[in-house]
Amino acid sequence: MNHWPTLVYGLFAMGALGVYCLLPRAERSMRAAGAVLGAAALAGFLVLFARYAVSPQGSGVVFLVSGAIAIAAAVKVITHERPVYSALYFVLVVLAITPLLILQSAEFAAAALVIIYAGAILVTYVFVIMLAQQSGAAHYDRQSREPFIAVLAGFLTTAVVAAGIMELPVPAGGDPTAMGGEGPSNTEVIGRVLMADYSAALEIAGVLLLIAMIGAVVISRKRVPTEDVVESRTPGMIGREVPPY
């Protein structure tokens, strides 16, 4: 048990090195080495946590598999050269996290994540990228600007979080079979908490979204010149002067 932190931090360092090699760069490519290192670090974590795989209803296996998929897809998000694929791997990350939330009996959060993130926000991302970038990868996609500092910052943060988690006792975890059971459902509890304890925050968030929506309408709205306006202007100037609406 004593060498547990050493093992975890060692795997983190290995993963960091792998991601560093995987990041796109202009000169010689070290992607193969990076992929091997990253896969080895991930496999190391899987071996480390393998004893949790033995659990009722196979929830441990689900946890390990979807966790591994989420991590691998997250690495792909930042290392892939084509932004469309990056966005799609982001979708995969969201979908892979969903089972983890369900295992914690947080099925409402899982559904909200899929509907809001994957179903609405990321569709817009994918769409904007597809419209903005029709052919070829741009310079900033083929070469990451500060790979070393970025990897260092990211993995140090993760290591700090992991250190905090290792201090905690191993939790019993939610019972995934309790979803359809008796008592107030997960959704009900969230609703009560939001409405009773955090009603001010909820209202402020709602007003903020409303302001954003009004701003979007104001920005996007242009008055289309109608016939009488057209008559009074010289042909070349039509549409040049759009009065603020």
């Binding site: 469309v84 979708v91 559904a111 899929v114 509907i115 994957a118 179903g119 009488d228 039509i238 549409g239």
Partner: protein, 399 residues
Amino acid sequence: MMSLLEDQFWFSAALALVIFGAMMTAVAYCIYFERKISAWMQDRKGPNRVGPLGLLQPLADGGKFLLKEDIIPANVDKPLFVLAPAIAFGLGMIGFVVLPWGGRVDVDGDGAVDVIAQVADPGIGLLYLLGIGGLAVYAVVLGGWANNNKYAFFAAMRSTAQMLSYEIPMGLAILVIVLMTGSLRLEAIVLSQLGGGNVWNIVHHPLAFLILLTTLFAETNRTPFDLAEAEQELIGGYHTEYSALKFGLFFLGEYAHMITGSGLIVVMFLGGWHLPWVPGLRPEDVSIGAMVLKMSVLGLKIAAFLFLFMWVRWTLPRFRFDQLMRLSWKGMLPVALALVCYTTWLVYVGRATDIRWTLGGNAVLMAVVLVISGVLGSPITGRQAHMPAVRMFASRPAR
């Protein structure tokens, strides 16, 4: 064997297999009936060469899909090109698991309820269906983009904007029923509509029913909302470059989506497996026979809605894109919002299931909508009469 079925896990597995098979068959025969119904409406005969009445036509079509050359054009984004039909088909085929097919069942007949005739009954059944609907957009976006065809991408763009816009009134219409029922579980929504003088939700909230029905047409890209497949403008839509089984998977996905959507609307507004005044369809009837009866009733209701989908397709012309957007944002969204606010107030004063208040509120809201549209003087979907045509280059001198 029967004792195995008393366990919910094995019962769910068996039910999933049975319903999956039924859905595959239903999807194949949907295409047959689509052609037969269109022929009937247009005074033709329709498919009648393969087998009696052309009944083996789906088999021939399936064989054709399998045996045709599967072309992947040059310059396509190959991984995404292959992924798109897989997403369309896969998502179409996992939606049915939360539909309540037959209530509670006593498998061995010892008087104790063993299982629930539903593959899964999560506390978020409705949100699961909404999530699948949200993910279905990816099939269209990826399909349209990956095949590197401008027209297909136009179609995908239209289709995505349409699906995202119509999800909002759809969610609000569903919210009305969720507020009334107080549960996201589909089985609970069915049970809330029967027994003890309760009526189907369509009687409580006909406006919400209309909104959900309309948005379902849009979500499944069916006429009058099939702008993604406007042949006159966009060749064949987002699946223009697809051939053989990949094209077939898009089709199967669309019909599976229709079946799940019909199931959703039947469960939410038409009492699911319930029929009034028919014995054997009460929640207390838990025998295997009752379950089969309930499943047939639900299946028949879904079939009726599928017929409605086809009927509308061969009757109504297609919307223009601006009409489509106006209908969603200026038409259905305000009505749905008003309905949600009203229902919230009803829940607050404790009259959410009082038919005089729900139906009365719907009638008043409908009257208000009619008055407003009368004052505006033009239908929400039409060209507005007071808006002169945009003639950008009217005064440009001839060269």
